[in-house]
């Protein structure tokens, strides 16, 4: 059914790597931001900043996810603007295959970025023994996939690459404010709390923080379910509104 998926994915990986600026932007930026934050908060686990210090890994993880989404939106917009999508449409490739190839590329680079972040963070954090790195990675891939689904919807409709970046930023960054990353959701104003309940980032943050603090997956069934629902809804929506040109 997904004829050409692996070949297309492999080509997209190569094409992505051939543009050094893009790689630095998507992979390097979150790592640098993470290192800076770690230097500020991580090295001195005094009272007051202790809670923030514990959240930096979750913050880094969210940065990775957002970076992947912005990159996806931009790539699809460039492909649409340049007539690449239209050319691909006149082949047996389905839009699902095209999006799936990009999602696989983004998830792969998400994992690579996380690896780099872990390597860079060794100076600031010792991985708590109760945290499973595999679980954290899985939680991140899961969160990224769900946030990427919002990216599908944006990517499906933004007309040009010039619009893609700002539209992505406007949609994604306010989500961080409501997500409970900096301020616990309970402490937010009522309106923002309601917004937080429908935004997937909230559940991603809750999942990532929890896993980092040593929770088991059973404590986060609700988060996983919410992320799955968002993924399902957004994928269905984007397949309806997807524009080839």
């Amino acid at each position: 059914m997904l004829r050409g998926l692996w070949k297309l994915t492999w080509i997209e990986i190569k094409v992505f790597v051939r543009e050094p600026l893009g790689v630095i932007g998507t992979v390097g930026m979150p790592v640098v931001a993470f290192v800076v934050l770690s230097r500020v908060f991580g090295g001195r686990p005094t009272r007051g900043v202790a809670r923030i210090a514990a959240d930096v890994p979750a913050f880094g993880a969210i940065l990775i996810a957002l970076s992947a989404v912005l990159s996806l939106i931009t790539v699809i917009a460039i492909y649409r603007e340049g007539g690449i999508l239209k050319r691909l449409r006149a082949t047996p490739l389905s839009p699902v295959t095209i999006l799936a190839a990009h999602v696989i590329v983004k998830l792969l680079f998400t994992a690579i970025t996380l690896g780099l972040m872990i390597a860079a963070g060794k100076r600031y954090y010792t991985l708590p023994p109760e945290v499973s790195l595999a679980s954290f990675t899985l939680a991140l891939l899961f969160s990224t996939l769900s946030v990427l689904a919002i990216g599908f919807v944006i990517a499906s409709v933004v007309p040009t690459a010039r619009f893609a970046q700002p539209v992505g930023t406007i949609v994604l960054y306010p989500m961080i404010a409501c997500s409970g990353l900096f301020v616990p959701v309970d402490a937010l104003p009522a309106a923002m709390q309601r917004a937080a309940q429908v935004l997937p980032l909230t559940y991603a943050v809750s999942l990532l923080k929890g896993i980092w603090q040593g929770d088991g997956w059973s404590a986060h069934v609700g988060d996983v379910a919410a992320l799955l629902i968002v993924f399902g809804l957004c994928t269905a929506l984007s397949s309806r509104v997807f524009r080839w040109e």
């Binding site: 004829r3 050409g4 070949k7 297309l8 080509i11 997209e12 190569k14 094409v15 051939r18 543009e19 492909y79 340049g82 007539g83 690449i84 239209k86 050319r87 449409r89 006149a90 082949t91 047996p92 490739l93």
Partner: protein, 305 residues
């Protein structure tokens, strides 16, 4: 004649209040190069994209190889080859990667390496798409259109933006496609291209087909005028030229005579007259009407407007 490869009957396509295609019908037969010709915005690309199954006409019927392109798109895709106007590929995709990807999408692809060789792209197989010249990009798009060994190939404004030399090279490639027994449907706003390349053309303007015929047939029916321009220093010649049958007018400017008339016999008659009257001629040429003139006659405006 066998049933048509492409049958288009009364299609119409509008976008809001803009009528892109008002009423278009034509048939394309096996093994011919068929051209849709007309100015930019005449509805050529929209028509072609409906035939390719990329767009659905508001009304009318299309059949390609006996299939409905809108409803049986996936069955049709393996049997047609498509080149789109102003399409691009990923900037940093290599030539062989594109051909390899396309080949993997079809059941019985041709040998990609040999195809690149035939299209003169063998040396460029490791080049990034963004580094190719306009002509090389178009040759790659022809390769991608041919990779599934299609029965019919659609080419949209194939040579737009190319220099004359690259254009001629592309024409040879398109003739090569016909020689392999394929049917070619192309659009162009270049009358010279239509005249040299197409077996039959459909003239399209403001979303309507105005006439369909061979280029020579269109010229003969709509622009039967022939003109002979010659240089002679015999002042008595003018009266002799005026006596030639079916001559409409003779004018002269210095030693230069312009003889206007109709019908294919005009040139023969002028030559006969020259020999009968022993008129010495130092220059002789004929001016034939072109599709450009046919277009002007049929639509009242030039194709370049």
């Amino acid at each position: 004649m066998s049933s048509p490869i492409v049958h288009v009957s009364g299609i119409r396509k509008t976008y809001g209040r803009t009528v892109a295609v008002a009423d278009v019908s034509f048939d394309t037969h096996e093994g011919e190069i068929f051209g849709l010709i007309g100015p930019n915005g005449a509805g050529k690309t929209t028509t072609l994209e409906c035939v390719e199954g990329l767009r659905r006409p508001d009304s009318g019927a299309i059949s390609v190889l006996g299939l409905d392109p809108a409803r049986e798109k996936s069955r049709l895709q393996g049997r047609i080859g498509v080149q789109l106007q102003e399409a691009q590929l990923q900037k940093r995709i290599k030539v062989w990667e594109a051909v390899d990807l396309w080949a993997s999408l079809y059941r019985r692809p041709l040998d990609g390496g040999r195809l690149l060789d035939q299209l003169g792209l063998a040396e460029k197989r490791n080049a990034w798409f963004m580094t190719l010249s306009g002509g090389q990009k178009q040759r790659l798009f022809i390769a991608l259109a041919l990779i599934n060994d299609p029965e019919v190939v659609f080419l949209d404004e194939l040579t737009t933006g190319l220099d004359p030399q690259a254009r001629r090279a592309i024409w040879d490639l398109v003739r090569g496609i016909r020689e392999r027994g394929k049917t070619v449907v192309l659009t162009t706003h270049l009358m010279e291209e239509a005249e040299r390349l197409c077996d039959r053309v459909a003239i399209i303007d403001h979303g309507r087909i105005i006439d369909v015929d061979t280029p020579a047939g269109l010229v003969a029916r709509h622009c039967p005028d022939r003109t002979v321009v010659l240089a002679a220093d015999d002042p008595a010649a003018e009266a002799a030229f005026q006596a030639i049958p079916r001559v409409d007018g003779v004018s002269h400017d210095g030693g230069r005579f312009t003889i206007r008339g109709r019908g294919d016999d005009l040139v023969t008659n002028v030559i006969q007259c020259l020999s009968e009257h022993r008129i010495r001629v130092t220059d002789f040429r004929t001016v034939m009407p072109t599709l450009e003139d046919v277009f002007l006659t049929l639509t009242g405006h030039s194709i370049r407007d």
